[in-house]
């Protein structure tokens, strides 16, 4: 069967490139490590200059609270200065992220209830750090009027008790679906249509374009070999990610089969899409440029890193046609809610439709002729 010959040829060539195999496995795992560490919420050790011109009791309490934050959550580290100008110039020069000036009449105004003020000079060019410091400092000065800790809660106060429906998901664990999707994306990019581009680039494609292989043999064969390779890599990465992050798997069979179905469908969809986009290319450099662009427009709006609900309206609309968004949603549902295929039927339906449309377009748009 001609189709099997195309698959066999492609798999043989893949097996003989150990560097490609190693990179296909290592890169998504590195992604998990780097992405997990670079997006992890809390900022720590931001340099904060403090000029205390007041020696009163209230300013001492402010300082105690600031030091408590510096020692506890470590949002900032305190550098005590004498001169206000020096502190402000330091912020402008980028030495400090912010400067606090406690004026000489601060404690007196607190005692007189005469609108006491503390100056906070922020380097607002770094918005995230500035917000973090503002929040921490606000917390420190809000507490200075509290004289004692109540020992008995008020009986008539409404209390909110939050109950988690599912097991707690930490940040690293939440990235696992994204890492699996990343592995699928890289696999779909570097197998399938890419092998055709490389054959064209090396001038090898004529050896099979001139044979009786049909369009379906060529496109189908390359997609199937890409599917086999990518599914193996993505499954391996999935297992490694589960072991690294410790996501509890309550039902290996049910969840495992569901994950495999999502991986296979997503891989088929992306491989077919790559064929539509790259089926006529003849230089791997164009694939390189295209891959960076595709990764950004598919991966980040997929909900793998940040929830889709937080996106602006237009980006949410894009997410509705982004196959990776459905794949991420399906994997999150299976992994974190412990459910099976029935709860992701909507995602699977979209992925199946996407695959059919893309594969049909790939076969129809593929040309055996040269330009």
């Amino acid at each position: 069967m001609r189709l099997l010959a195309v698959i066999d040829r492609d798999l043989k060539k893949f097996r003989r490139n150990p560097v490609v195999i190693a990179m296909s496995i290592l890169m998504p795992i590195l992604y998990l490590v780097i992405l997990g560490n670079s997006f992890q919420g809390k900022l720590q050790g931001l340099p904060l200059a403090v000029v205390r011109d007041d020696t009163g009791q209230s300013s001492r309490r402010v300082m105690e609270n600031l030091r408590a934050i510096a020692a506890g959550p470590q949002t900032f580290s305190i550098i005590s200065l004498k001169d206000q100008q020096e502190a402000i110039a330091g912020v402008k020069a980028g030495i400090y992220k912010a400067a606090i000036i406690i004026p000489a009449d601060f404690s007196r105004k607190v005692a007189m209830q005469a609108v006491p003020e503390i100056g906070l000079f922020l380097d607002n060019t770094d918005g995230i750090s500035a917000e973090s410091i503002r929040g921490a400092v606000n917390g420190a000065i809000r507490a200075i009027k509290t004289e004692y800790v109540p020992i008995r809660e008020k009986a008539d106060e409404v209390r909110l008790r939050d109950i988690n429906l599912y097991a707690k998901v930490d940040y690293f664990q939440s990235l696992v679906p994204g890492v699996v999707i990343m592995a699928i994306f890289l696999g779909a990019l570097t197998t399938g249509a890419f092998n055709l581009v490389m054959d064209r680039f090396l001038g090898v494609d004529e050896s099979y374009m001139l044979t009786p292989l049909s369009k379906m043999d060529i496109v189908g064969g390359l997609i199937i070999s890409g599917l086999l390779v990518t599914t193996c890599i993505a499954t391996l990465i999935f297992i490694v990610s589960i072991l690294i992050t410790g996501i509890p798997f309550t039902n290996w069979l049910k969840q495992g089969v569901s994950v495999l179905v999502v991986i296979v469908l997503t891989t088929l969809g992306l491989l077919s899409m790559m064929f539509v986009l790259m089926g006529r290319l003849s230089h791997p450099r164009i694939v390189g440029i295209l891959s960076g662009f595709l990764n950004v427009i598919l991966f980040f709006p997929s909900g793998a890193v940040y929830p889709i609900a937080s996106f602006p309206h237009w980006l949410q609309l894009f997410a509705k046609v982004n196959p990776e968004a459905y794949a991420v949603h399906a994997l999150k549902t299976i992994l974190f809610k412990g459910t099976g295929i029935s709860s992701i039927s909507h995602d699977l339906a979209f992925l199946a439709c996407f695959t059919i449309v893309m594969m049909t377009t790939a076969v129809l748009s593929f040309k055996r002729t040269v330009r």
Partner: protein, 335 residues
């Protein structure tokens, strides 16, 4: 010639790339079992033509039938009937020589048993038996070419297309390829269609030759027929510094001179009885106050036929094109 024994029939075929016409209204026929050569400089349109005949390019207009099938209407049947060795090396570097042939055989649905029997025999024929299990990445250019010649025979094609089969090969590999092509001709009555810009290759191998220049078919016939079309049995080539048109014109009027061409300082005269008449030619030039630096006399070859029909030397034209490629100037339709 009946319809039955025509292997390739081309009628008014044209291929344009935008405004550029690579192949311009060409018609010819190739009989079954013949070795047919398409002769032309780089960029003359040979590869474009062969790509149209092998279904890789659609003609802009005109028709071509290969093995009795229309290349546009029935490309799949054409592909089943032919074997093609393209100009560029197309064997997979990451597969062994044997694997390359085996996969290729599978593309044609050749049974496993037949592949097992036929491939070692073909590898032996091209002297690659010892290299069968080596990766093609370790082969030299000549070895790859030989492998590809063997590979294309796995499915026993009726018509074999060879696009510049010896380009870039050392003289020894070239000789092996020539012998191989001759062997094929003796065997299965296979039709061979080859393109080349080597005159000696065309002369040594081809029973019929077509000359193509700037996309147009200039002449067609057996090498002897083509030579016979050039008046004058001998060719005198004289190097004359400061050669003038007047002198060339004057020589052209001499009765034993059939035709004369001038290329820079070189005068080429097609003459009767060259050995006797050479001194007379030199005297005529000297009488014009010019000096003859060198003189050569030889019998006509295909190179002379090419110069006669196209007005240019194939070697010089090839050099010019190679220079352009070397200078990074794209030779867009040159293959």
């Amino acid at each position: 010639m009946t319809q039955k024994n025509i292997a390739v029939e081309v009628t008014g075929i044209t291929r344009k790339f935008g405004e550029f016409t690579a192949v311009d209204n060409i018609s010819f026929q190739v009989s079954e079992g013949q070795i047919f050569g398409f002769l032309g400089t780089n960029g003359a349109g040979k590869t474009t033509l062969i790509r149209m005949l092998t279904t890789l390019l659609r003609p802009t207009s005109g028709q071509a039938r290969v093995a009795g099938f229309d290349v546009t209407a029935d490309p799949d049947q054409v592909r089943r009937s032919i074997g093609v060795v393209p100009q560029s090396l197309t064997s997979d570097l990451d597969l062994t020589g044997y694997e390359n042939m085996d996969i290729y055989g599978r593309f044609y649905n050749i049974s496993a048993r037949e592949r097992r029997e036929r491939i070692p025999h073909l590898l032996e024929l091209v002297g690659l038996s010892a290299w069968a299990d080596h990766m093609v990445a370790s082969y030299s250019g000549g070895m790859r070419r030989r492998l590809e010649l063997a590979r294309v025979l796995v499915h026993r094609p009726r018509i074999l297309f060879l696009d510049e089969p010896t380009i870039g090969l050392d003289p020894q590999s070239r000789r092996v390829v020539w012998d191989f092509i001759r062997t094929l001709r003796q065997g299965d009555a296979m039709t061979l269609f080859l393109t080349t810009h080597y005159m000696d290759e065309a002369e040594a191998l081809c029973e019929r030759v077509a000359i193509i220049d700037s996309g147009k078919l200039i002449a067609i016939g057996s090498p002897d027929e083509l030579k016979a079309r050039i008046p004058g049995s001998d060719i005198v080539t004289l190097k004359v510094p400061q050669l003038t048109n007047d002198t060339v014109e004057q020589i052209g009027k001499i009765p034993f001179v059939h035709s004369v061409t001038m290329e820079e300082n070189t005068l080429r005269a097609y003459v009767d009885n060259g050995a006797e008449n050479l001194p007379l030619l030199i005297e005529t030039i000297k009488a014009d106050g010019l000096r003859v630096v060198s003189a050569t006399l030889h019998e006509q070859s295909l190179e002379d036929v090419f110069i006669h029909f196209t007005g240019k030397s194939i070697r010089e034209e090839t050099k010019k094109v190679n220079f352009l490629i070397g200078a990074g100037i794209p030779q867009k339709w040159g293959r």
